[in-house]
Point group: C2
Chain length 221, copies 2
């Protein structure tokens, strides 16, 4: 399949509600082959991609993932959840609680995703040598009509995750990202964003950008 | 302009040799608007994008950048340079020295890039909430025929870089990436990569992937 590059970038939003249909081998190949096209510092390609589609492995990972989600809610996300519960009618609260429900859904259905990708990087401290590859994988999936969601919450229980996956202690391999894949039940669309001109400067921090981008420069219509 | 998503992903290779022609405003808008379409953890969009096109600012940054390059050669890259100089006929050495010359070219011509993007992230430790955005910016530039190169060597002298750009000490903003842009003098192409099946596993580390991808799944022909 083919798709316009802008359509792929603009409509690759987190797709956590999916069908359990398996991801065909050709689509898996396209996902991995796109990933390795990404740049890496010094072109070292210090990456490894681990696909999980075995139900036993998923069943071992799922309870670990759900414990990580509990940690997320009770630590990093706690202030935002408290704020949202204090002002449930606030549009920002509504948007955030939608995200919380969607992320919870992923945890509750971890075993149901037909394909899960784990990305590892070697000696990469910034993430700059692995996340372009991860994002390419997600864009390539989008081109094939496959939804994805990026999550890093395994960070809370890396030892347990590494043990299930057999990640070696030596070699400097660091877990960077987990991406779930599946054919979506919902519709593709452009996710809401704060406009670029509100988060961009020119020539110095807070420097006037010189233009505004009030509407997305690509749309479904 | 439009372009197939795979063509954009497969042919966005580091383009350091460029013309000095300015980057039109519409292209700048497309770069920034694509960047903000990327995902971020909890959709916090904790990013800032700083475009530099002022010759004075570039002149202030260039010597800092070149000192960072000197640090790179004498530290992280030293073992690879020594190895390449010891075996100059080795294909790997030849490839690596090409990269060294290309990276040196960028440093030598830092002032000549018509547009330079600095990406900052807030409270993002993994890079997962900024590098998809940075890579989108590079892909959007590619669609418009604009080459880019990602470099993070300012890490060696962050204080000096931050001072020139006026990055505030408060707010938790962290420099993530610097991307040079320009219309390339050379040709677009698919950069060589180690095949995906050599860096991918299934269900466990070292687990048999189950297929091979001997040739790129997209090509110029």
């Amino acid at each position: 399949m083919t798709m316009d590059a802008l359509e792929a970038m603009y409509t690759t939003r987190a797709m956590r509600r999916i069908k359990t249909d398996p991801i065909p081998e050709l689509v898996q190949k396209k996902i991995l082959d796109a990933a390795i096209r990404a740049p890496s510092g010094g072109n070292t390609q210090g990456w490894r991609f681990l696909l999980v589609d075995d139900s036993g492995v998923k069943a071992d990972l799922a309870p670990i993932y759900r414990k990580c989600m509990d940690s997320l809610w009770s630590t990093i996300y706690k202030p935002r959840i408290d704020a949202a519960e204090a002002n449930p009618e606030d549009p920002e609260s509504i948007e955030f609680m939608k995200l919380v429900r969607s992320a919870s859904y992923l945890g509750d259905h971890f075993e149901d995703y037909p394909l899960i990708l784990f990305g590892f990087s070697q000696f990469d401290t910034s993430g700059g040598s692995i996340f372009p590859a991860i994002w390419n994988a997600m864009l390539a999936a989008r081109v094939e009509g496959v939804g994805s969601a990026l999550t890093s919450v395994f960070q809370f229980r890396l030892d347990e995750m590494n043990e299930v996956l057999g990640v070696p202690e030596k070699g400097g391999w660091k877990f960077s990202a987990c991406v779930t894949f599946g054919y979506p039940t919902g519709r593709w669309g452009v996710a809401p964003r704060r406009p670029a001109h509100e988060v961009s400067y020119r020539n110095s921090w807070d420097g006037e950008l010189g233009f505004e981008i009030p509407e997305p420069l690509w749309s479904m219509e």
